[in-house]
Assembly symmetry: C2
Homo-oligomer: 256 residues x 2
DNA sequence: TCGGCCTAGAATGCATGCAATTCGTCGAGC
DNA sequence: GCTCGACGAATTGCATGCATTCTAGGCCGA
């Protein structure tokens, strides 16, 4: 249930112990339980995740590739810290990669995949035009938004590209749904949601029309909305710190 | 000596045993000693690489992330097979990513980095205008060509992008220098080299001029040269099989 | 003769022991 | 009082043993 969003993430399923360690470690890192920049001692986390050192080490190797852990020259791992600029770059890179996905999709022409994409866009429309305030509504929006981006990658028919996008999305705040929760309140946020949905629709249209360049530009522009959301989220530092991964980001020239 | 090109590849240096296993396994895979699609039994390769199972397993996890190994659902790893289309996608993706690097570089404006880039272009010019036939000349060209692409990523000032490009380059025939050796002979190949060098120069110019879009388009076009080289290389199947990674590529609808 | 089941072998995944290295701290010397 | 060095604790990296799971081959039956 809780990791429903994880299941399509990794095509390769490691053994259960490693998977458990990866999921638990990710949680510990993103919640800030394991402080950023701090060494992750194997014996210290062995009891936190409930697996032995061997699968734990495998999991840490995996998280190193995901970018959440960094290898220390002298051995062992530390929780990676991210500058705000790195987060911005990750978002921009996601946009660039999704742009490439759009271009590939426009060239490969998978009609059934495009139908599914349109269906998701329609569902999103229904959400946005319905009653605006409801927690289940927002959950549903998050789900559909993620689904749109997954389907976008799928119609690109390029598994390698999907892997790259997954890798980028593993970084803090780089996921397409990273800021949807924070958008619940302000009027500015509502405007952004409306624009985002316009992007969704026009991206799908451009792909179907075979206009890869337009779709690519739109995808990049779409990601720039996340940049604006990031700016807004950083403004309330305390709330930002409570977001998943917020504890990993250094703000104000190296502070935390 | 032989792995000189590897040293700048990975920022993160694993422990010597793991590194040894990774390098040796890569070699075994790319040379086809471990046949594509076949299971890689740990005990079988333990004596081939000279390390124990634990570091070997770490190395295999790493190669899985590189894309050369795939996890089997029932456990263990197999040597990945690549379709020709996947190789083409990898090359195109490298071009797309290098294009993004160009755009970032044009925006970030690192003059000293650009000077280094220009210097490499000048050196490449000198190589191309000198005597055309010499093995050391070709080695030097390969070195400078790789250096150009490394510096290109460096001036983008986006380490994450560098990681993605490294990941793509780890796939067979996706490296910028993958086909330079095969270009020694034909007149067509010489023309491609000339055009490639023109790309190098104009890319550097466009970045310095701050014209990210032009640089991006050129980078993508540059990668398309590799696609042409791939087509040419595939024509001589026997020679292709002897290239590093050639044994991993399935040609003709699943044959080998 | 072919197909399915069962069994023996093998391979993986995991846990833990051991040695080497690193890190922190305390003490001594300047 | 400060710095350098050395010792001890802690941690990593590696190797190997064991249990579980998978695989392959043979045997039996149709």
């Amino acid at each position: 249930m809780t990791d429903r969003s994880q299941s399509p993430r990794r095509r390769t399923s490691p053994s259960p112990q490693i998977l458990r360690a990866v999921l638990r470690l990710r949680e510990l890192i993103l919640t800030g339980t394991l402080p950023a920049g701090q060494r992750v001692a194997e014996l210290k986390v062995v009891d936190l995740v409930g697996v032995s050192r061997t699968p734990l080490r495998l999991a840490m190797e995996r998280l190193e590739h995901e970018g959440l852990l960094a290898r220390r020259p002298s051995g062992g791992f530390v929780v990676r810290e991210f500058t705000l600029q790195e987060v911005q770059h990750a978002i921009e890179l996601r946009g660039a990669l999704e742009g490439v996905a759009c271009r590939f999709a426009a060239e490969h022409r998978d009609d059934t995949g495009l139908d599914a994409l349109d269906a998701t866009v329609d569902e999103l429309d229904r959400i946005l035009h319905g009653q605006p305030e409801s927690s289940t509504t927002f959950d549903e929006y998050v789900r559909l938004n993620a689904q749109f981006h997954e389907q976008l990658v799928r119609v690109a028919k390029t598994p390698l590209l999907g892997r790259l996008i997954e890798q980028v999305q593993g970084l803090p705040f780089a996921s397409p749904s990273a800021f949807v929760q924070t958008q619940a309140t302000s009027a500015e946020s509502l405007r952004i949601l409306i624009v985002a949905q316009e992007h969704h629709r026009t991206i799908a249209q451009a792909i179907r029309a075979g206009d890869g360049s337009r779709a690519e530009l739109l995808a990049r522009e779409h990601a720039r909305l996340a940049l604006r959301n990031l700016d807004a989220a950083v403004r309330d530092i305390d709330a930002f710190r409570r977001l998943p991964g917020g504890a990993l980001v250094m703000l104000d020239e190296g502070r935390r």
